[in-house]
Symmetry: C2
Subunit: 191 residues, 2 copies
């Protein structure tokens, strides 16, 4: 998606450890026009698939997933990372290790928000080693739902996430694919 | 806002401790059409005010705030509750005690995303005792910005938040005002 790649080129920067910061438009400050454009692009990429529900994980996935769900006319469920007094009902859980935060946390979805047989599109902002996306697949499948695709805004193609997702048999569509962040230089995969 | 009140009547339920659960459409599962409608309604309520930026706090405020910012043509910044390796830059912080979670946490906004003189509209899903909204005002003012209004989806009018906000001199607009949750019965303020 040219618009997203352009923004990454203009505003993204690298931190040591293969970390790409895009917090001026994607995950701290958000540009709603870009979120809505990403929603339309995911809807286009998955136009051949029936989607009953969009699933993401808090917090950075919510804006993009909302745009996708609005475009597809479905509801959105965001998995929660933090157990709350308000979540004492039956829920599905899966431990997810964050690439950037280097910590493992359970994420939760209440059982009542996944109905067996539903076709689910998973959306997230970043794909690094694939733990978040595959954890969301696990939760969705615990609910008897089918993962019909995984949509990622920024895929770090030099890490193992994309390969793990495809090996697990899921369809993956990424809007921008980063080939390398070596020497703090952002290189995209040639499309 | 009749549409929101209708959804609260149909799908909301109470938990002991004056807690209203609306997680089927507002803050775990989200109905994007309702989020977009709330965005339009906030834009209408604050039509007389110049807004440069929308500010909320993760996670439940993001969907509504995105809809508002999209409607107003501004950017959105969501305050983060969790310090991250990616947030080692200069930031503003304020401790906020959550009414539902009974815990105090610092929330953060990176300094570079608040520019002195900007007019900020604060958006959140719930107003109980006002700690989150007033904490966001504090952070925004640390950045030299002006809070031009606070927009809340669901105000629990029997708690002290609304009064504290008005006493502090801020303009408050709420889309649904709950008069009482006594005996686990949802009563709205007569408008």
């Amino acid at each position: 998606m040219e618009l997203l790649k352009q923004r990454i080129k203009e505003e993204g920067f690298c931190l040591p450890g293969n970390i790409l910061k895009v917090d001026s438009f994607l995950n701290h400050q958000i540009d709603p026009q870009l979120s809505l454009a990403m929603g339309k692009e995911f809807a286009r990429l998955f136009v051949d698939v029936k989607v009953d529900k969009v699933v993401t994980v808090e917090s950075s996935g919510i804006a993009i997933a909302l745009a996708v769900a609005a475009e597809l006319g479905t509801k959105l469920v965001f998995a929660r990372k933090h157990q709350s007094a308000l979540m004492e009902e039956d829920r599905y859980a899966c431990p997810i290790t964050s690439f950037t935060k280097k910590e493992t946390k359970n994420v939760y979805i209440l059982k009542k928000f996944l109905t067996a047989g539903e076709k689910v599109l998973i959306i997230d902002d970043f794909l690094a080693d694939g733990n978040a996306a595959l954890g969301l697949c696990n939760i969705v499948e615990q609910g008897g739902c089918e993962v019909v695709g995984i949509g990622i805004a920024i895929e770090k193609s030099f890490q193992r996430g994309a390969e793990r997702i495809r090996e697990a048999g899921y369809r993956l569509e990424s809007l921008a694919r980063i080939k390398s962040l070596s020497d703090c230089k952002i290189e995209f995969v040639e499309e």
